[in-house]
Symmetry: C2
Subunit: 224 residues, 2 copies
DNA sequence: GGAGAAGTGTGTCATAAGTCACATAACTTT
DNA sequence: AAAGTTATGTGACTTATGACACACTTCTCC
């Protein structure tokens, strides 16, 4: 499968472009480039000009925001097939968060200038974009509540459930990363995981978490 | 000034429609209705169908989200001239937050069906809407960081500064409301305010806060 | 295979905030 | 003006979590 066709599939999967016609999709896909990232490499930082949209071909990219004091909060975790940077590509303003490769990755890149030119040629797409943006706004609000009003066990359970949906019952992530992910200290994460291990909800290995009892975990995620 | 003309001014002020032509604006304004709310009356709740956009003609409306356990977090505080419900009116999905009148209020109402019909007639406006939505997304991200990564004094100072910008140095709000506003217990708010009073940063009265030293307050808001 | 690095397990302690329980104080209503 | 209601002030206690410190276990690389 050509690079372009692969990108078209990613676009199609991502709701933003889900109901574009095959022809529109193909013309859009033809505009893409690719880019490689080493593990830990920074793709962009807060404040950088937002001049492209990215799709993950393989690998993993963390979207995170850092407070001035160094505490970080991971907003999202993009895996194969995920798109990000839609906002920056539309309005061209600077990035609101940092993006770092969580492992060696390859990305599809759709540059702003190319995308805008496309939108100009195909105004019907603009209408669909509005719906996507609304969806994004809603998603953000939910995320907001989740991360601040809920206690750590709930946040942690939710993250694990979300990761399980992407990667199956064997989640490959360090406790440190998981800590950053839910906005908590590594030690706190560890203690909670230990407690759950004693309840046979999961098992722990170096850099890996094996989810044993998703039923209980989702119950915790729903806040009992 | 007619009701419609007044609504047109509000629309014009609110960036969403800032660069619409006077003619477009007028046709849009003609679609509005008005609605009255008593103090404490609920305009809509999370989950209600999102079938309208609102503009505050006079009064005050709180946009807040409630966790299941009853803890609440006020996301925004809409005063005269503010618009809200743009997202729901565009995608028609259910409300993501609650809206309650903070005092007796009068609202402009623009119904979804009317608005969509308008957009269909004037496709150029759709493009401008995209920019607004992007802006909204960015604003939300900032809000998110503010409210969760910062300690209470910082959040409180920021809110007071924001309120001061709207209402001057005499902010008319109860400590209870302020607590809901920054997502903290009333008592904690009180203790912090007391501490600031001892430092001559502000003065307290029943239902009222007098800001004495905005310099220090903004310093705290910037996290020292 | 030895040295170091990276990840993990756990104890102790400090601290910010929430909760509860009142005591006032200030407005409202009758 | 008496009674009730709402807003505020404050102390005592609890709890969740972060911070530090350190032991122990894998992995990796020379």
């Amino acid at each position: 499968m050509s690079k372009q066709a692969e990108f078209a599939v990613i676009l199609k999967m991502n709701a933003m472009f889900a109901d574009l016609g095959a022809d529109e999709l193909q013309r859009l896909s033809n505009l893409c480039h690719t880019q490689h990232l080493a593990n830990g490499e920074v793709l962009f930082q807060k404040g950088d000009p937002g001049d492209a949209l990215f799709g993950v071909r393989r690998g993993q990219v963390r979207i995170e925001t850092g407070a001035s004091d160094g505490s970080r909060l991971t907003l999202n975790f993009m895996g194969s097939g995920d798109l990000f940077g839609e906002v920056a590509v539309l309005d061209g303003q600077s990035r609101t968060a940092d993006a770092t490769a969580g492992e060696a990755s390859e990305l599809f890149v759709l540059r702003r200038e190319d995308f805008l030119a496309f939108l100009e040629r195909e105004p019907k797409v603009a209408i669909k974009i509005i719906a996507l943006l609304c969806q994004r706004i809603r998603w953000q609000s939910e995320r907001m509540e989740e991360s601040m009003l809920q206690p750590l066990p709930v946040r942690l359970a939710r993250r694990l459930c979300a990761l399980a949906a992407d990667f199956g019952s064997e989640v490959h992530i360090s406790q440190e990363q998981l800590g950053v992910f839910v906005g908590a200290a590594r030690e706190s994460v560890n203690r909670q995981l230990q407690a759950w291990r004693k309840e046979a909800i999961l098992d722990l290995q170096r850099g890996r978490i094996l989810l044993r009892n998703m039923t209980k975990l989702t119950a915790i995620a729903r806040n009992e």
